[in-house]
Structures are given as structure tokens and as C-alpha cells.
């Protein structure tokens, strides 16, 4: 695959390195001369100095034959414009944007960017997993708009001692796995009984998250 990486900072550098290791054709676009030199020195002649939001640069870089454009600069507005240009002007099949502000996910989706990756959101999710809260913990976002979340079952929840088939789950939400408090997963069927401190893994949609939390954790 031909992958163009816009932004030669830390993320861009390591991304290019990984992609090269997997035998993809890679080009990094970076404005800063010193960064370009460093990348060329370490990874070879795979860097183009220029503005990845400019059509002329995109033309030279060969956006027209790229299979994927990944915009990973530290500025969301630059990542957005690179990806929009890739789509609208060059018909690039897949665009991926790094988000610095996780709130921008909605607008990027709306504007047709195929995937977004937010380091802030990922770190936040990781921290949330470490915190002893009883909220839902985001685990994975699926392409279909569904997501996989985890919930720790508080001892006082009304569902403790009930089997999965007895639970009133929000529409479209499905318990796929129950993990005991010692970390052992239990084969999960409709007869599985929820115990205190279990971690329950659920497929749901983001609009049902609140209802799900209420259904499973309210006393």
C-alpha cells in the first residue's frame, strides 16, 4: 500500500517506521527542515518538505495514487484540511486523522474523515480503567457505530444474583463477557449469574450508554 503521512513529529516518525517495517511504500510530508533531515537520516529518502495542506505539495507527493493518507500533526485544523483535500480533490480511499481535542471526533466524522485517533481519549480511557468508578469504561469503538464498554458491578446493584436473561437491558445492548473479580472470564450465556465486583463487557451504542449504566448499576 502507498501510505502518505502528513506531519513528521514523533507520531509521524514512528508511524512511518512501523509502516516501512511492514513493507508499505511510505512518504512523510513535513514543513520543518530539521525534522525532515532527521527522518531522512534515520529512515531514508521517504520525506518531502512542504505543507501537507497545500494542493501543489499534495500533487508532488502523489495523493492521487495513495491508498491512505494519515494526518498526524499536532494541529487538528491542519489534519482536517489535509484529509478533506485528500478526499475531495484526490479521491483517496482512506483518510485517518489524529485528534488532539477528542471533542472534534463528531465534526471529523460528519465531514467524511474515515477514522480518527485521539491520544487524549485513549489515555483518558486507560486512566478511567484504573479509577474505582462505577461508570462505563470505553474499550473499543466499532466501525458500525457500536462500541464495547466495560462496567464494574457494584455490590449494591439490583442485578447482583440475577442471570443475564432476567436483566432489562437497553435496546441493542448485549452482554458478551463476564469477568470475575479475580480476573477469570466466565463462559457467558443467558444463564450466567452476575456477581458483585464482576466486570461486565457489553456491546452497546453511545446513545444507550447512560441507560446501560442505570440498568446495571442502580441499587
Amino acid at each position: 500500500m502507498y501510505v502518505i503521512v502528513v506531519g513528521g513529529g514523533k507520531v509521524g516518525y514512528y508511524l512511518a517506521k512501523e509502516l516501512l517495517a511492514e513493507n508499505h511504500e511510505v512518504l512523510v510530508i513535513e514543513q520543518d527542515g530539521a525534522k525532515c533531515e532527521r527522518i531522512a537520516e534515520e529512515l531514508g529518502d521517504i520525506v518531502l518538505r512542504g505543507d501537507g495542506c497545500e494542493a501543489a505539495t499534495a500533487e508532488i507527493a502523489g495523493f492521487g495514487r495513495a491508498d491512505m493518507v494519515c494526518a498526524v500533526t499536532g494541529d487538528d485544523e491542519d489534519n482536517l484540511v489535509s484529509c478533506q483535500m485528500a478526499k475531495a480533490k484526490f479521491g483517496v480511499p482512506r483518510t485517518v486523522a489524529r485528534l488532539n481535542n477528542p471533542k472534534n471526533q463528531t465534526i471529523f466524522k460528519k465531514l467524511g474523515i474515515d477514522s480518527t485517533v485521539s491520544a487524549t481519549a485513549a489515555i483518558l480511557a486507560q486512566i478511567e480503567q484504573e479509577l474505582p468508578t462505577h461508570g462505563t469504561i470505553p474499550i473499543l469503538q466499532l466501525k458500525s457505530g457500536l462500541e464495547i464498554v466495560g462496567l464494574k458491578m457494584p455490590a449494591e446493584s439490583s442485578v447482583i444474583g440475577k442471570s443475564i436473561k432476567e436483566l432489562l437491558m437497553p435496546h441493542g445492548s448485549l452482554i458478551v463477557l463476564v469477568v470475575g473479580k479475580d480476573g477469570t472470564p466466565r463462559a457467558t450465556t443467558s444463564d450466567t449469574v452476575i456477581q458483585a465486583e464482576d466486570e461486565v463487557v457489553v456491546v452497546t451504542s453511545s446513545e444507550n450508554e447512560e441507560a446501560l449504566r442505570t440498568a446495571l448499576t442502580k441499587p
Binding site: 495542506c53 497545500e54 494542493a55 501543489a56 494541529d75 487538528d76 485544523e77 491542519d78 482536517l80 484540511v81 478533506q84 483535500m85 475531495a88 480533490k89 481535542n101 471533542k103 472534534n104 463528531t106 465534526i107 460528519k110 465531514l111
Partner: protein, 143 residues
């Protein structure tokens, strides 16, 4: 009309003063407090320090109730992003965007955004000025 202007540079501040004088409810956003010095001393609108591509900031200035939004910062990409947020997230009826780069301007115009490129407008005006003067003097009329 309720109007929100992002960017308090020469254009932003002049536009803000004009619209406020016309009696509109104007809010100007800029990242730098000092930028508001460009506004006239008797400016009747509101000033708000913040980043205009941050949706929380735009919500705080009441963009959802605004009738018009102008993106006139120095950064083309910032303007483009803020305008699209105004249009698609906050549903602002008129979201107007300045883009210096004519190629980028043409692309976003095609994508359905109300854009203007001062580069093209300015160059055309200068060209017209030259020809008019020549025409008035009766020279270069064949040009």
C-alpha cells in the same frame, strides 16, 4: 442579528465595529487578549478570549443562537475548521469563511461553504485600478 466573529485582526475588528454600529449583537473571539485593542474604545459588542476551533468556546459564546459567523483569523485551516463546526455542529445559517489560498478557497466553495479569498479579490482590484487609470489617460486601451 446575533453575529459571532472569530479573529480580531484588522479585518475582524473593523467588521465587528461596522456591524455593532449597524445595531447588531456582536461577539468577537480571539486567542489573545491584546488583539481586542484594535476595537474602537466605544465598541458595544462583547469580547471573548478563547480558541474559536474549540467547540466548548463556541458554545459558551452562544453560537447556536447566532444568525451569522465569520472566520477571519490568520490561519486558513483554522477558519475552514471553525466555519464547518459553526455550520454542521451549531447549525448557523450563514457561516462565512476567509481563505487566503485561492486553491483551498475554490475547494471549500465547491464543498458548499460560503468562502472569500482576499488574494483573488485584492489582485483583481489592483489590476482594475491599473487599467482604469490607463484608460482615463487614453493609453493602453487595447490591453
Amino acid at each position: 442579528m446575533k453575529v459571532v466573529i472569530m479573529g480580531c485582526g484588522r479585518v475582524g475588528s473593523t467588521l465587528a465595529a461596522m456591524l455593532a454600529d449597524d445595531g447588531h449583537d456582536v461577539t468577537v473571539i480571539d486567542i489573545r487578549q491584546e488583539a481586542f485593542r484594535r476595537l474602537p474604545a466605544d465598541f458595544k459588542g462583547k469580547r471573548h478570549v478563547g480558541n474559536g476551533i474549540d467547540q466548548d468556546v463556541l458554545a459558551r459564546v452562544g453560537l447556536a443562537e447566532a444568525d451569522a459567523f465569520f472566520a477571519v483569523t490568520q490561519g486558513d485551516n483554522r477558519n475552514v475548521m471553525a466555519t464547518q463546526i459553526a455550520k454542521h455542529i451549531f447549525g448557523v445559517e450563514r457561516a462565512l469563511c476567509r481563505i487566503y489560498d485561492p486553491i483551498r478557497e475554490a475547494m471549500y466553495h465547491e464543498l458548499g461553504i460560503e468562502t472569500i479569498s482576499p488574494t483573488i479579490v485584492g489582485a483583481n482590484m489592483l489590476k482594475d485600478m491599473l487599467y482604469q487609470k490607463h484608460a482615463a489617460a487614453g493609453i493602453g486601451s487595447e490591453a
